[in-house]
């Protein structure tokens, strides 16, 4: 079993905040396939299209037949630890600060032997379950978990380096008025977040679930309006240094494309909230989070954007909203690049239609607030960068990957083809 982590002590104000160091981040272009798979928490390796040989490490030509047709495929995660060692010192600053560090070689049931980080509960020569996760450099690395669950296994210090588990962390949910705010707060309370700050815009206007929000353990309502720079700046000045996970659930949407509306008023509101809101939050909270990536057990860990999957391909019935989502998606890539030196994970959670007032006339399937909240907490526990919640989002990204132009043409028909 793993020793359970304990609530981190209050910060010693005389100690310098530790600066985030990073594990080696250089990869070949071929090896970045592992990173792309890790972004979604998938264990994938190249599999030769001609001879079927599973490849490891990633390469440009098949180790068996020299074919260059090596598509990435999901691989069965089972294997056995055949060699292991515990590193007690290292020339890498990152690992030197984190020793002892367990590494080993696992023979996969799928064929090759892989080098991986090893969970403390894996027995010598024991069966393992391989996962592929992003490290603090944002690169895919393989990690061997025990094949059977062990007690407190999430608390393994090496595993925690690869995840953004909300346990004992302080979370800011930016929009308390959102219909998903209550489900998010409840999910983070269940995940044992130590404080759940919830931003509340326009306190002069009531909303129906306010009392229910206040009743969730560890919730603190704080004034925040992502369209108001002064409000964002003031809140960041107060709690930016103890915001470990920021979940931006602020969203403005109205139905309609270009000509149904005939003006730019709602489109401007969509950009103000969905795009500039993200920018304001990132400018205000980003620097403080960047500086706290290695700040102990409740270090800054992750930034979560909830985005419409129509960021990838415009849904004309929600055309202007889709465009603002695309802008936010693009900005999230910039944020990811800027957050990377601090080891802060930027996780985008993409949804199709959500179960709320603005999608009320749409038929199911729609993503329920509770499903969205579960996906966010699970994604943080897995340290993911990209999460597609629900059938519509998953179907759309599959079609986008198969052919964006084909998808664009499908989206212009009947409400998005298969969606």
């Amino acid at each position: 079993m793993t020793s359970p982590i304990v609530p981190p002590p209050k910060k010693d104000p005389q100690q310098r905040t530790r600066i985030q160091t990073l594990p080696a981040g250089a990869r070949s272009r071929a090896a970045l396939g592992l990173t792309a798979a890790a972004a979604e928490g998938r264990f994938m390796l190249q599999v030769c299209a001609e001879c079927g040989a599973v490849q490891y490490p990633p390469r440009d030509a098949c180790s068996n037949c020299l074919s260059v047709d090596l598509p990435w495929k999901d691989i069965a995660p089972g294997g056995r630890l055949i060699a292991e060692t515990t590193v007690r010192t290292s020339t890498s600053t990152y690992f030197r600060e984190r020793t002892p560090w367990r590494v080993g070689t696992v023979r996969l049931d799928a064929g090759p032997s892989v080098i991986c980080h090893v969970h403390g509960d894996v027995a010598r020569n024991g069966p393992v379950h391989i996962i592929n996760r992003l490290d603090k450099s944002g690169q895919g690395v393989l990690f061997a978990l025990p094949a059977e669950r062990t007690q407190n296994m999430e608390d393994d210090p090496q595993l925690r380096e690869l995840t953004a588990n909300p346990k004992f962390r302080r979370v800011l949910i930016t929009d308390g008025r959102s219909e998903n705010a209550l489900a998010l707060a409840q999910a983070f309370a269940k995940a044992e977040a130590s404080i759940i700050f919830i931003g509340e815009a326009e306190g002069w206007r009531p909303y129906k679930h306010r009392e229910a929000l206040r009743a969730v353990p560890s919730v603190q309502l704080v004034p925040l309006d992502v369209t108001d720079t002064s409000s964002v700046t003031e809140l960041a000045a107060e709690i930016g240094g103890k915001t470990d996970i920021l979940v931006n659930n602020a969203r403005f949407m109205r139905p309609g494309g270009i000509m149904a509306r005939g003006d730019t008023v709602f489109a401007r509101d969509e950009m103000e909230v969905n795009y500039l809101g993200l920018m304001r939050l990132a400018q205000a909270f980003g620097p403080a989070m960047l500086g706290r990536g290695a700040d102990g057990g409740n270090s800054a860990a992750a930034w979560v954007n909830i985005l419409s999957v129509y960021a990838y391909a415009n849904m004309p019935a929600l055309g202007a909203f889709s465009a603002s989502s695309a802008a936010a998606y693009s900005l999230s890539q910039c944020l990811r690049a800027e957050m990377r030196p601090g080891g802060i994970r930027v996780m985008n959670v993409y949804t199709g239609p959500t179960d709320d007032d603005w999608h009320q006339p749409l038929p199911p399937p729609k993503v329920a607030p509770s499903a969205l909240a579960r996906a966010i907490v699970a994604g943080l526990k897995d340290g993911l960068e990209d999460v597609f919640v629900g059938d519509v989002a998953q179907d759309l990204i599959d079609r986008w990957r198969a052919g964006p132009k084909i998808l664009e043409r499908e989206m212009s028909e009947n409400d998005g083809g298969g969606a």
Binding site: E202, G203, W204, R205, P206, P223, D225, T227, D228, T229, S230, S231, R254, D263, V265, F266, D269, D357
Partner: protein
């Protein structure tokens, strides 16, 4: 109106001196343009009143070393603001119905203040009725033509959610009945009507016939509105002068503005 014994030049000169000496006091009837100040809330499928927002362009820094300035955005009807006739469908064909067309002399004039603060304190849906107007006139004299009439409710002292006082059946705040607005417009020929609440109409004004009677009758007759006024408790019932000059916005239906009143100083009396 009686022709004043004094010549205009002497009148203005005396007023200027009285302002300088403090014998005439200037009261600011304006709320600060603040991002968190309430605006009217409509059903979300309708277009909404933009909140006041401000973005720094530079602040003596790398973006502009010796100067500080901001861009700000808002609606014509954000904060303490003026309603022009073209704001309402009843006033869409009124001549000189937009703020840029209104003659400047209409922005300054006499003002009558009707104190409804006790009633509004007791009843958040308090109605200004013709009987109240008539009782006020019995005490202070007939409301002169071309004067502003302000409904004092002390609503400007409310903060946060108490201001709009929004519930599931809508906002609850005081305002005039349709008959009252007709009396003021047709019977007295007022220039405009002003309130401390977010609109010239009551919070439940949509349920009158016609809906929003103050907007409907005032603007249909080419009269003006002022709302979100402040400090009305510092005005005398009569004898003050109101100055309300909206921004000269082309085809503007209203404008945030600084509303001030000139009143005789209590000390000088």
């Amino acid at each position: 109106m009686n022709v004043h014994a004094q010549k205009p030049a002497a009148l203005i000169g005396d007023l200027a001196l009285a302002l300088a000496s403090g014998a005439v006091e200037v009261i600011d009837l304006t709320h600060t343009l603040d991002p968190d100040f309430p605006v009217i809330v409509l059903p979300p499928e309708f277009g909404q009143c933009a909140r006041f927002r401000m973005e720094e362009i530079s602040a003596y820094d790398h973006r502009g070393p010796a100067w500080k300035w901001h861009n700000f955005t808002c609606c014509e009807h954000t904060g303490t603001h003026f309603d022009a006739p073209s704001h309402w469908i009843s006033g869409r064909d009124v001549p000189n119905g937009s703020v840029d067309e209104i003659p400047a002399e209409r922005f300054i004039g006499p003002v009558c203040v009707i104190d409804c603060s006790a009633g509004a304190k007791a009843n958040e849906d308090f109605e200004l009725t013709p009987q109240i107007i008539e009782a006020w006139e019995a005490e202070h004299g007939r409301i002169p033509a071309e004067s502003w009439v302000l409904m004092r409710t002390d609503w400007s002292k409310r903060r946060g959610a108490e201001y709009l006082n929004m519930r599931e059946d809508g906002a609850h705040s005081p305002g005039p009945t349709p008959e009252t607005v007709k009396l003021l417009v047709d019977g007295r020929g007022i220039r405009g009507f002003g309130t401390e609440t977010v609109g010239t109409d009551a919070g439940q004004g949509a349920h009158y016939t016609p809906p929003y009677p103050a907007h409907f009758f005032l603007h249909g007759a080419g009269r003006y509105g002022l709302q979100c006024l402040n400090n009305l408790d510092r005005l005398p019932p009569t004898g003050a002068m109101l100055i309300a000059t909206p921004l000269k916005i082309r085809n503007g239906t209203g404008s945030p503005l600084r509303v001030i009143a000139l009143v005789p100083s209590k000390d000088a009396q």
